[in-house]
Subunit: 124 residues, 2 copies
């Protein structure tokens, strides 16, 4: 049992698009990440994904056969990207986010051969 | 898909020790609660429980056969109370927390007949 500080977690790395694992519970993981710019379109077939913005300016874009949609998040806002729905995070400035999702969820989901894929996440 | 604001969530109620459900994902729930003073000792047999302090001053006390322990949390700090471990949140001032735990986790866990038990959680 220990306390983990979000501020210390973010101070420990500078890389963008490389989530770190901060805590685990109930087969889920709490991750912290710095985002900047556009990510790749992807979906997680079996995993809902929570985004919580600590600091910054983030849009989660969605698309499916019928329509496009977007959710805008500022500091203190959260949203859930549902399993199976194609989405793309777009950070309009460097943005600090907390992610919550099942352990083992890949950052790029079903996107093929993305340079953005991080296979082994560092644990803080 | 929608954005939820923590500030708006906390502005929507004043009651202490009555968690509200803010979001659900992967059979887990994100709850917000105001805590003040000492809660009851309890454990959740099958559920780890995450506490994230948005604002305030919180100690999670632990006890088992061998020892006592305590984790102190200020704003921006989080901790995980492991399943099956008896614990008691103590808020030294009114404290806003985000809880993350499996859907259906009872706030008072295995504590008998607690007046603090909330059977039906309000959804925000």
């Amino acid at each position: 049992m220990e306390a983990r500080s979000l501020a210390e977690a973010f101070a420990s790395f500078e890389e963008t698009w490389e989530p770190r694992v901060l805590a685990e519970l109930n087969d889920q993981q709490v991750k912290v990440a710095r985002l900047d710019g556009e990510f790749v379109w992807h979906a997680h077939e079996d995993a809902d994904e929570l985004f919580y913005v600590v600091d910054g300016d983030l849009t989660i874009e969605y698309r499916d056969d019928d329509r496009e949609d977007a959710v805008h998040l500022g500091p203190g806002d959260l949203t859930v990207a549902p399993a199976g729905v194609e989405h793309r995070p777009v950070a309009h400035e460097e943005t600090k986010v907390v992610l919550f999702e099942p352990a083992g969820t890949k950052n790029t989901g079903d996107a093929d051969d993305s340079e953005r894929t991080v296979e082994e996440l560092e644990r803080l």
